[in-house]
């Protein structure tokens, strides 16, 4: 099972016990994850994430269990350099924490599409009610996501950290280049409901670990009584299409 939405490193707001890659891998393997796409958590408060990207890309380069996903701030003039510096299946955008609108990212998004690299759009990193009072980040909206997805049909997008009603808004009538992770989806039989509304093809697993407990993913999948085919799709197949993996 692929975890499309996990993090390594330090979280500025409290200590993470599993930010170290080795510990994170052990923790995720315990819940059946076989491969994780990770970004540096500390970049949430870094307007220039390049240094963290370079450090983590180097550190994870020899560990095929992880796919490193650099965080990019398109408001920076050299942002597109990430495509040449860090080979990756995806880039992650954090428009709320980094303070820009998705319109600002259109050039970067277009280039990602040309290079066959997926774009992860982080809806939220933390429940705004529990955010640090000095750091209340804007959350994304379905309208702006749909706007860039419609405008860039050749770019594949993963929306990470959205709640079920937000996933509904994003996926309802969405083009085929948009996927959503289920890291922040919580309700009774939530995965079954999402499948009933949108089909299975646009959903992928995400844990938001080590900020959230990865065991929650197992609980939500189990509650929905997925068929083997559904589990195979959400657990791996959809992610392989999203990230254009062989």
């Amino acid at each position: 099972m692929y975890d499309t939405s996990a993090f390594v490193g330090q979280w500025p707001f409290r200590n993470l016990r599993y930010g170290d890659p080795e510990l994170l891998q052990q923790r995720l393997e315990r819940v059946g994850i076989t491969h994780a796409f990770v970004s540096p958590a500390e970049t949430v408060l870094q307007r220039s994430p390049q240094a963290a990207n370079r450090r983590w890309a180097d550190q994870l380069a020899d560990n095929p269990w992880f796919s490193f996903v650099p965080v990019v701030n398109p408001a920076q003039s050299a942002a597109a350099a990430v495509f040449d510096q860090t080979p990756s299946a995806a880039i992650r955008l954090m428009p709320g924490p980094h303070g820009y609108g998705l319109d600002r990212a259109r050039e970067l998004i277009g280039e990602a599409g040309e290079r066959d690299i997926a774009v992860i759009l982080q809806w939220r990193m933390i429940d705004v009610r529990m955010a640090h009072p000095d750091v209340v980040h804007r959350e994304l909206t379905a309208a702006e996501i749909r706007g860039v997805a419609d405008a860039h049909p050749n770019t594949r997008f993963l929306v990470a950290g959205a709640r079920p009603p937000e996933i509904d808004q994003v996926l309802d009538g969405a083009p085929g280049n948009v996927w959503c992770d289920i890291s922040h989806a919580e309700a009774p039989v939530v995965v079954r409901k999402l499948i009933a509304s949108h089909g299975v093809v646009s959903l992928v697993c995400g844990t938001h670990a080590p900020i959230h407990v990865p065991e929650a993913l197992v609980a939500k999948l189990a509650a929905s009584d997925l068929t083997e085919d559904e589990l195979a799709a959400i657990g791996e197949g959809n992610a392989r299409r999203l990230f254009a993996l062989a």
């Binding site: 059946g32 705004v128 009610r129 529990m130 009774p188 939530v190 929650a216 189990a222 509650a223 589990l231």
Partner: protein, 270 residues
């Protein structure tokens, strides 16, 4: 996909549930669905307050309170897994006391719920809390440290600490460990008559461990806030700790059974 839950003799007790009439997800009956989902993860008792028949009502009228608690009585009678918790409001003190008499002293309910009509510092709560202490039932008191959206009558943990200090003979279950956060745990750490339940927002790693360190396992109760949240996902944040058996049993069942003395004794042969 197998979500393994250790077997707890007599079953797990969920100390924070709000049944509602609408929004069924498996059948056409939301309470049947609630009990079904609870059972699937090993929960044998759900401590349920009903916060209104027309949605969750922060400032219910007298009629709202009577209707909500009457329906709670109906569903607890129909489903042995459902233990009623009286929804009280300091805006209606006499009625709240009457509902407590009717449903606890003369009925089968096991506790009371105070939500967000008024802060826990408000003296209007005192007669209700005094009567709960006299009846020997815990008070489930809403609490949250919100960065945005804290409502005027919404208590934070420091308000709960104020209430607990005013009523040392009352047992207070402070709701929402994750919503209260580390600061909230520390607010009530020195007040032995306050316990905390484990729900409140997303299943953040490390919060149960923090509560264990500062409160000890005997002051933590598993609660889900279902069906607004999910039994299993909220359970996962407790299971993820990897607790030794005695501590796990305490959090998942033992503490609730110790404090909610009116809960029927569990069937250990189930």
């Amino acid at each position: 996909m197998d979500f393994s839950v250790p077997e707890i003799p007599g079953g797990i007790v969920d100390a924070h549930v709000h049944a509602r009439q609408n929004g069924a997800w498996r059948t056409d009956d939301s309470v049947t669905d609630l009990v079904t989902d609870a059972r699937r993860v090993g929960i044998s008792a759900v401590l349920t307050s009903v916060l209104g028949l027309r949605g969750y009502l922060a400032t219910p009228t007298e009629e709202d309170l009577v209707a909500a608690n009457s329906w709670a009585a109906e569903i607890s009678e129909a489903h042995p897994e459902v233990a009623g918790v009286v929804y009280c409001s300091p805006d209606h003190i006499d009625l709240s006391l009457d509902l407590m008499r009717r449903h606890i002293a003369e009925g089968s309910f096991v506790g009371i719920k105070l939500w967000i009509a008024r802060k826990a510092t408000d003296p209007a709560l005192d007669p209700i809390v005094d009567y709960a202490a006299e009846l020997g039932v815990p008070i489930l008191q809403h609490a949250w440290y919100k960065t945005v959206g804290q409502l005027p009558g919404e208590s934070d943990p420091s308000d709960v600490a104020h209430l607990a200090a005013r009523h040392p003979d009352a047992t207070i279950q402070m709701a929402h460990l994750s919503g209260c956060g580390e600061r909230g745990v520390l607010d009530i750490a020195d007040l032995p008559n306050v316990v905390v339940d484990t729900c409140g927002g997303d299943p953040e790693d490390g919060m149960v461990e923090f509560a264990l360190e500062h409160l000890g396992p005997e002051r933590i109760l598993y609660g889900s806030d279902a069906p607004g949240r999910d039994f299993g996902i909220q359970l996962s944040r407790v299971l993820a700790v990897g607790l030794p058996g005695d501590d796990l049993h305490a959090i998942l069942a033992g503490n609730a059974r110790r404090l909610y003395t009116r809960l029927p004794k569990p069937n250990l042969e189930q």
